[in-house]
C-alpha cells in the first residue's frame, strides 16, 4: 500500500513540475507564426518536390505569404489551386505556363548500339565517368534511372534502358533535369505534344552509326513547317515559342525518317513495344 502512495506521489509531483516547466517555456519561447503561411501550406499539394526553387512546401508558403513569389510558381498545383491561394491571400496569381519534362532521346537498347559492356555501379553519373557508360552515344540517355529515382512523382519509367516521362504524372518540377548527368532532359511547355527525341549534335552519319533513332538532320520537318521547327547543325528542334505547337497531324504529315520527331503518345507506344517483334 505504501508503495502505491509513494509512486502516486512521485508521479504527481513530476507531472506538476514538468507541466509548469512546459507552461513557462510556451510563454517565453513562443515562436510567432504567420497564420497566412499556414493557410497557404494547407492549400498547397504538399509534395515537397522543390520545383518552385524553395526548400519544400513550407518554405514556398512563407515566400508566397510574404509576397516574394507568386502562387503560380508551384508547378504541381493546378490553375484552380493557384487561383485559390491567390484569392485567399488577395494577391495576383501570376501569369505563366506549366512545364513538363521530356527525355530527348530515343536510344533504347534496340535503337542504339550497346557499344560497351559496362560493369559497375548502376548509376547514370557513375557510369558516365567510365568512358560514357554502356551506350555508344555520348549525348543520349544512359538509362540507369537517376532521373526516375529523383522524380518525387514517379513519373519517369526506364523502358529498355531509356527513360520515358509519363506526361500525365509529370508536373515539371525539374528535379530530373538536375539529376541527369547528360542534360538529356528538357523542360517544355505543358501544352506541347510533339518533340525531337534526340540530343546529339554530332554529324548525321556518326549518329546513324551509333543509333537508329537519332535525328540525322535531314531537314524534312523544317522544310514542311518552317515556323514550328528549326534545325541547328544536325539536330532539329521544336520551336516551343511558335504560335501553334506541332501536334499529331504535323507529325503524320512529316513522317520523320528515323522517328526522332514523334508525338508523346507515339514515342511512348513505340518504346513500350520496342523489341517485342524481335522476340517472335
Amino acid at each position: 500500500m505504501s508503495g502505491l502512495i509513494v509512486s502516486a506521489l512521485v508521479m504527481g509531483v513530476l507531472a506538476l513540475v514538468l507541466g509548469t516547466a512546459i507552461g513557462i517555456f510556451v510563454k517565453f519561447f513562443k515562436v510567432k507564426s504567420d497564420p497566412r503561411v499556414e493557410l497557404v501550406l494547407e492549400l498547397l499539394p504538399g509534395a515537397n518536390c522543390g520545383g518552385c526553387g524553395c526548400a519544400g512546401c513550407a518554405d514556398f508558403a512563407k515566400a508566397v505569404a510574404s509576397g516574394k513569389l507568386q502562387p503560380n510558381r508551384c508547378p504541381v498545383s493546378s490553375r484552380e489551386q493557384v487561383n485559390a491561394i491567390a484569392f485567399a491571400l488577395g494577391v495576383d496569381p501570376g501569369e505563366g505556363f506549366a512545364r513538363r519534362a521530356v527525355v530527348c532521346c530515343s536510344g533504347d537498347k534496340y535503337q542504339t548500339q550497346m557499344r560497351k559492356f559496362y560493369n559497375g555501379a548502376i548509376d547514370c553519373a557513375a557510369a558516365n565517368m567510365i568512358g560514357g557508360g554502356p551506350k555508344g552515344c555520348r549525348y543520349g540517355c544512359i538509362g540507369m534511372g537517376n532521373c526516375a529515382h529523383a522524380c518525387p512523382f514517379g513519373a519517369i519509367e526506364v523502358i529498355n534502358s531509356l527513360a520515358v516521362v509519363h506526361q500525365e504524372l509529370c508536373v515539371g518540377c525539374g528535379k530530373c533535369v538536375t539529376a541527369c548527368p547528360r542534360g538529356v532532359i528538357k523542360l517544355v511547355p505543358a501544352n506541347s505534344s510533339a518533340h525531337v527525341y534526340c540530343n546529339s549534335p554530332e554529324k548525321g552519319a556518326t549518329k546513324r552509326s551509333l543509333c537508329h533513332g537519332g535525328c540525322i538532320g535531314c531537314g524534312k520537318c523544317e522544310r514542311a513547317y518552317p515556323d514550328q521547327f528549326t534545325k541547328t547543325g544536325f539536330l532539329a528542334s521544336v520551336n516551343y515559342e511558335a504560335e501553334k505547337l506541332p501536334g499529331a497531324e504535323e507529325i503524320e504529315a512529316i513522317k520523320c525518317p528515323t522517328g526522332a520527331l514523334a508525338s508523346e503518345a507515339g514515342h511512348y507506344e513505340s518504346e513500350k513495344n520496342a523489341g517485342k517483334g524481335e522476340n517472335k
Binding site: 553519373a125 557513375a126 565517368m129 567510365i130 568512358g131 555520348r138
Partner: protein
C-alpha cells in the same frame, strides 16, 4: 650492408595483392619496338592545360621535332616520335574513354632525327635554372601515371622548403614490371636523373624506395648508388606502397596533411622513369618520345616489356607480343589497380602509360551490386584510414554531404577497398562519383562567391 638485418619500411593499411602477375614479365628484358607506319600522338599528354599545336597538316616533321608547345605553366611540350608527314589532327579514342585530339603522323620510314637540344654532360656545374628549363623543354611529365608536368613538380612554391627527394621505384601495382626492368637494365640513368633532380632542387638527401620483390634491382642500384650519394630504401611488398603520401610516410616518416602536397613536408617525389627521362634530356639532349611499357596478361602469347614510342596504338603493342591465345574481355591502360579500362584498340600509348594489360573474363574483377555485409575489410585495407563501406553506403543513399564530412575527398582511389570487398561492390567508382560531385559543388560555390 647486411640485407637480412635491414629494416624494411612500410605504411599502415593497404593490401597484399596476388603477386603472380609480375612473374609474367619481370624476367623479360626490354625489347625495342620496330618502327610503325603511323603514330597518333595525343595532343594532351599531360595533366593541366593542353599544349598549343604548332604544326599544320601536310607539314614534314623530324624525330624529336616540337609538335606542340606548352601553353602555360601546367602544360608540357610534345615532340614527334619519328620523321614523316603530319596527315592531320584527328579525333582518336582517348585513354579516358572519351575521344581525344591526336596528331596523326605518317612515318616516312627513315626515322631522321633533329638535334633539338645541346647535351649538358657536365650538369653538376650548370645552373639549376638551365636544367629546369631543359626539363620543361623536353616535355617531361610524371611517368608514374598522373602525368603531371615535371617542371611544375620541381618548382617549389614560394614559402616552402624541401630537403628530401624520393624516387618512387616501388611499382606496387600487380602485373607491371616496366620500372623494375628500367632500374635493372639502366641503373645509372636512374641514378644520374635522380642526382640531376637533386641538383635542380639543391638537395642532397635522395632516397629511392623499392619494394623488396625487386631485390635484383635493389642490388643493381646499390652497386652504383654510393657514387651518387643516393640511398636505396627497401620497402615491404604492399599496395599502395608507391602512393606519394604512403611512400613519404614509409621512408622519412612524415605525414602529408590532408589536401596537402609533398612539398608541405619538405619532400619531392618522382617516378624512376621520370628520373631516367631527366637524365636523357640533360645528358643526351633528347626529349621524351618513348617509354617502357609492360604489355602483359595471361591471354597474351608472349607478354613482355617494350620500349614504345608515344602514339603507338595499343593494338600494335598487342601484336608485338604475338597476339593472344585466349579471348580477352578487358583491356586496361595502366596498372590493374588504378588503370583505365578501354573500349578501343586504337588508343595510343602516352607518356604516362605504364602498362597495357589484357585480362580474360575469369581474371578480371566482376562487380556486383551486392549489399555490404560490413566485414570491415575495406576499412582495414584503406591506406588513408577511411571507412569506405560506410562512405559508399552514404553516397548510394544520396548523402554526399555525410561522405564529405567523413573525408571522402582524401580518398586516393587506389582500389584497395574494392580489391578486398567480398561483395564486389564498385566502391572506388562510388567514391569517385562523390568526389566529382563535391568538386563540382565547390566550384559552383566558389563561382557564386566570386560573383558577389
Amino acid at each position: 650492408m647486411n640485407k637480412s638485418s635491414r629494416k624494411v619500411m612500410s605504411f599502415t593499411g593497404g593490401i597484399h595483392p596476388v603477386s603472380a602477375g609480375k612473374k609474367l614479365t619481370n624476367t623479360h628484358a626490354v625489347h625495342t619496338a620496330p618502327l610503325l607506319e603511323r603514330y597518333t600522338v595525343l595532343v594532351q599528354e599531360n595533366a593541366g592545360k593542353a599544349p598549343e599545336v604548332i604544326i599544320k597538316p601536310g607539314d614534314k616533321v623530324l624525330k624529336y621535332q616540337l609538335l606542340a608547345k606548352a601553353s602555360g605553366f601546367v602544360s608540357a611540350n610534345l615532340h614527334s616520335p619519328t620523321s614523316g608527314e603530319v596527315a592531320g589532327i584527328i579525333e582518336v579514342p582517348g585513354p579516358m574513354g572519351v575521344p581525344a585530339l591526336a596528331i596523326d603522323i605518317r612515318s616516312d620510314g627513315e626515322d631522321r632525327e633533329t638535334d633539338p637540344f645541346e647535351p649538358i654532360p657536365d650538369w653538376r656545374s650548370a645552373e639549376p635554372q638551365l636544367l629546369l628549363d631543359r626539363v620543361a623543354d623536353a616535355g617531361l611529365v610524371g611517368m608514374g601515371g598522373a602525368s603531371f608536368p615535371t617542371r611544375v613538380k620541381l618548382t617549389i612554391p614560394p614559402g616552402k622548403k624541401v630537403d628530401t627527394l624520393i624516387l618512387n621505384g616501388a611499382e606496387c601495382e600487380p602485373y607491371l614490371s616496366a620500372d623494375h626492368r628500367l632500374m635493372l637494365e639502366s641503373p645509372c640513368r636512374v641514378l644520374e636523373g635522380a642526382a640531376i633532380i637533386g641538383h635542380i632542387l639543391g638537395i642532397d638527401k635522395i632516397y629511392i624506395g623499392i619494394e623488396i620483390n625487386k631485390h635484383d634491382a635493389i642490388a643493381e642500384l646499390e652497386r652504383f648508388s654510393e657514387d651518387y650519394g643516393i640511398k636505396i630504401i627497401p620497402l615491404q611488398v604492399q599496395y599502395p606502397q608507391g602512393s606519394e603520401k604512403q611512400l613519404i610516410h614509409a621512408i622519412v616518416n612524415r605525414v602529408v596533411p590532408p589536401g596537402g602536397l609533398p612539398a608541405d613536408v619538405g619532400c619531392v617525389v618522382q617516378n624512376v622513369g621520370t628520373a631516367a627521362a631527366v637524365s636523357d634530356a640533360v645528358t643526351l639532349g633528347i626529349p621524351l618520345v618513348e617509354r617502357i611499357v609492360t604489355v602483359s596478361g595471361k591471354v597474351l602469347k608472349d607478354p613482355g616489356n617494350w620500349k614504345l614510342r608515344i602514339g603507338t596504338p595499343v593494338i600494335k603493342a598487342i601484336e608485338f607480343c604475338g597476339g593472344v591465345t585466349d579471348e580477352p574481355s578487358k583491356l586496361i591502360l595502366g596498372g590493374p589497380m588504378m588503370g583505365f579500362a578501354q573500349n578501343s584498340y586504337e588508343v595510343p600509348i602516352s607518356k604516362n602509360t605504364s602498362g597495357v594489360l589484357l585480362f580474360s573474363r575469369r581474371r578480371a574483377l566482376n562487380y556486383r551490386s551486392g549489399s555490404c555485409i560490413r566485414c570491415g575489410r575495406c576499412v582495414q585495407g584503406c591506406p588513408m584510414g577511411l571507412c569506405t563501406c560506410l562512405l559508399a553506403t552514404a553516397i548510394e543513399g544520396g548523402r554526399i554531404d555525410l561522405a564529405e564530412q567523413n573525408h571522402v575527398m582524401d580518398c586516393l582511389e587506389c582500389g584497395s577497398c574494392a580489391y578486398v570487398c567480398p561483395a564486389h561492390r564498385p566502391l572506388v567508382q562510388t567514391l569517385r562519383l562523390a568526389k566529382a560531385e563535391i568538386r563540382r559543388q565547390r566550384a559552383a560555390a566558389a563561382k557564386a562567391n566570386s560573383g558577389k
